[in-house]
């Protein structure tokens, strides 16, 4: 049987998800030998512009150039997989989406106008094209990409995770940093799959695998953390680290800033 044709691409991001593939030191050679690799930006100078069976795309759509490339990749790929947070929800660079305009960001960092270049507000791939599978993480987890790839080779889309980090935290028996120490843990909102790395090290989850789509209860997190003594600005920043494009978090931000403006107006 012909080997499936694979392309690995990156848009705007840190390159960490491709690096995680390269980091599969034990499995890398065997795993890639199942494919004809037609593109692997970070790992190979080989390039062939052909129809692909599977395209793995990391990075967010942050420029017109990104968008153009993404559309080309979508066009030629049977299965398009968004690899990592950037490609799903924009990751940290989407932190101020809906909060700070691109012009403002540009001005702050470069002192020049926005229309000078082709930036777009950072979004995941699915905001622009149809995506067949999303593998979350900042960076992606090796086991998850391994399972996804073996599953795809087997002919199936892998099972996706849509439960929170709390589940894995409990399965590991880690003490709850939120309950025990009052740390501002985002575990209850965050897509699992990391095996609760941070709570396992005694740290509060910062939500690096992104809020669970249509499920994360951001308003409840706000209430819980307010009660634990954290202020609104802190909590909202926190929720936004990896949730800038998440609708509920945007709504929550808006609600709070409106409320704040109102009270300030009254004073």
């Amino acid at each position: 049987m012909a080997k499936p044709k694979l392309g690995i691409f990156s848009l705007t991001g840190c390159g960490g998800d491709q690096l995680m593939i390269l980091n599969m030191e034990n499995e890398l050679l065997d795993l890639l030998s199942y494919f004809e690799i037609k593109d692997f930006q970070e790992g190979s100078s080989y390039h062939e512009d052909v129809e692909l069976d599977i395209a793995l795309v990391e990075g967010s759509v942050s420029t017109e150039t990104d968008l153009k490339r993404l559309k080309e990749i979508r066009e030629k790929s049977k299965t398009l997989i968004a690899l990592g947070d950037c490609a799903i929800g924009g990751c940290v660079q989407a932190m101020r989406n809906g909060q700070m305009s691109m012009a403002e960001r540009m001005k702050k960092v470069y002192g020049v106008e926005e229309d000078y270049y082709d930036v777009l507000e950072p979004k995941g791939l699915s905001a622009h094209v149809k995506v067949d599978l999303e593998i979350p993480g900042c960076p992606i987890e090796k086991t998850e990409i391994f399972r996804a790839i073996t599953s795809l080779l087997h002919g199936d889309l892998p099972e996706t995770i849509d439960y929170p980090v709390c589940v894995e935290c409990k399965l590991n028996g880690y003490p709850c940093v939120l309950v025990e120490k009052g740390m501002p843990c985002l575990g209850p909102l965050t897509t699992a799959g990391c095996d609760a790395r941070c709570p396992g090290l005694g740290l509060d989850c910062i939500g690096c695998r992104g809020p669970i789509p249509d499920e994360a209860n951001a308003a409840a997190e706000l209430d819980v953390l307010l009660e634990k003594g954290y202020d609104e600005k802190y909590i909202i920043n926190r929720l936004r680290f990896f949730g800038g494009n998440f609708e509920d978090i945007q709504k929550l931000t808006k609600k709070i800033s409106e409320r704040r403006n109102k009270t300030e107006g009254n004073e």
């Binding site: 073996t150 399965l171 028996g173 003490p175 709850c176 499920e215 819980v224």
Partner: protein
Amino acid sequence: MYKKLAKTEFPRFFEGLGNLGKVYGPVNIEGSTYEFREVQSPEEMDLKYTRTMIPPKKFFLGTKETMYTFDEEKAVYTPAIGKQEKTIIFGIHACDIHALKLLDKVYMDELMDLFYTMKRRNTILIGISCHPDEYCFCKSMGTSYATDGFDLFLHELSDGYFVRVGSEKGHQIIEANKPLFIDADEKDVEEFKMNEKKRLEEFNLELNVLGLQDMLDLAYESPVWQETADECFGCGTCNLTCPTCRCYDVVDYVGLDLKTGERVRRWDSCMLRKHGLVAGGLNFRPTRTERLRNRFNCKGSLTEGMLNCVGCGRCTVYCPAEINFVEVMKKVIGEL
């Protein structure tokens, strides 16, 4: 059968248990988090512990355990039953014993689950008496005292332990350690009875379970479900820390050769979105409200005459949203 173990003899008794298998006891991990961990000496344990975060069900229904390995070339599924280790769970509380009795019914009585049963049969349970904290309501659930379901049960006395023997295995342990145990005298019995009486008075939290099942039926449309679901993360902590919750999910993983792999089961939670989802995309409990209501209804219902809640308080203690089980139950049935 009743015996007495003097405090001075306790270390030797404990040491002797090591010959019967791996001994697990309650160990403090952090703050109020306790866990049953392998222990070598009594000093590692905290026998005054309130509750472990993860209940003893973990010993019999692994959090993540391989059920089968498979090999496509050989076309065979092999049950993953390795060497069965003898296990002693030392210091289990009455509520958790009741919970295991319930799990035994589900996993062993009818169409016995192999993986559970093999482990369960290789385990010795040694109970220990406890005192309630503000989250315990086992008294209301009728699970504050265990009359069976254990091998030995130790009740603390001022100078030792009043020991109840609950099984033949327990009897064998006593026999093997004969010199350490003496017959309990009248004074010991009096102290034991007095302690139990005092202990019952220590309970502050109560839940009226008379007719609870009907009350839940009648509250099916209660707004409390929605109100509580608004606060709830749907994170599954309540299920995963519950000693009677037994939902599991099964996933198959293929290895690097694409031919061999394993079928793994892991604890599941009815608070998670996919719990009621069938292939094709239809979800029978699509909202958090429905899932939450289902959870409370399940806990408040009976499995072969036993309540699916033993009042251990874990779901309340460990809930990151601080949802109080008893409070919600009371609100729902109109007692609050």
